[in-house]
Symmetry: C2
Amino acid sequence: MQEQLWGFDMFLMDIAYNGEHYHGWQVQPNLPTVQGTLCAALEKLLLQPVMISGCSRTDAGVHARQFICRLETEKPIGIPMDRFLKAANHLLPNDIVIKSIDICPEGFHPRFDVKYKEYCYEIRDGMVFDPFLRGLIWQLPYRLDADLMQTAAECLVGKHDFSAFCAADACEDRVRTIYSLSVKRVDDRVIVSVAGDGFLYNMVRIIVGTLVDVSTGRFSKNDVSEMLDSADRTRSGRTAPPDGLYLNRVVY
Amino acid sequence: MQEQLWGFDMFLMDIAYNGEHYHGWQVQPNLPTVQGTLCAALEKLLLQPVMISGCSRTDAGVHARQFICRLETEKPIGIPMDRFLKAANHLLPNDIVIKSIDICPEGFHPRFDVKYKEYCYEIRDGMVFDPFLRGLIWQLPYRLDADLMQTAAECLVGKHDFSAFCAADACEDRVRTIYSLSVKRVDDRVIVSVAGDGFLYNMVRIIVGTLVDVSTGRFSKNDVSEMLDSADRTRSGRTAPPDGLYLNRVVY
């Protein structure tokens, strides 16, 4: 185990990050991104160019509790795993952490080989905002009805064209399968968990925004099923802010 | 209750804030501060100049779970309490929250009338950093000995000259009384709680840094008592970062 990484040049890393201060995962010129920050830290550590491919593209402000990415180096690296983790995490800012690293199986791609992904959206509906959850949760100053939101969400489970629940500039093929969608209350939080084979641009955030609109009475639960059938984004609800969104799990 | 604020011009507010993005409590030119942000929001709400005096001066990056401040307005205000809270919190960024407001008793000063204050310093010593606690806790990559820290801390309780435990530019009179100081482990956290009649500049952070230095073996517990007697800042330990420090309670 100790010497596991020695002499290889392709690795899988399981990382977690607080996306509040990043313009999303993917490298963008002159903007702080998770991929860019990770690359810079690992190039400083390994003293060679590296390439990192992620399992997903998260938007600005979105978080990840599990995010799998592949690290490719030009030359084999010669650092034992525990020392790699310690040194790399020391070089990273404390809102990005590498939880583990292992050798990458041949031919494995962290994005194309995903079976399903699980996102979690967290809302806090206490009357007084919690300042220590800034950037980490969507805080609403009115009480939500989690049971009603759950009922309204049920029609979204299954294989559907999710055109009504994605941003205008999402990709062409808008058919996705949602395996499960649950809305649960835990004290003053409402947690929306959704697992699916893939998610369109802003899809989880528009679903959550629409369910909140159901709770406030703007839409009925039947409206949600009609929105889905209409494939018309103008009929669905608002886009929830990125703060509450977590990529929770990636399954291969 | 509903109309409680009507016609008065001097109020006490209990607020909480996440200090990560602020240069401390006190107004400074061209820098975001909690006092400045609060002033701006309330002047926007009340459409008149306001003056705000706080119970303490917290440094850049330090947090408050309870912070009492006095609000003075030029003209009496005419908003019921619940509407004031809702509107003011709506105008504030979500890392500052007003928890309550009431009429200020005559002659009361939030700073000079303090009986004692309680600070809490939170350290996390899990091996893998938690990216969602960025700015909210001091994360150390090695295990601390909370019992040893507690033993070393005991000599600090009581009335002492704390010159060895304050920044060089602290005020002249450096005698303070610490009523209690406890170091407790809760899972992967070590919580240092300290109550006293007043605290010098950086005092809690230097105490905590020194106790961590005792845990790592840099100092013995006897060294701490010698430091205190020496009244010499160069003999005590490092200054813990602001991230883990919370003003927890103010008692009048």
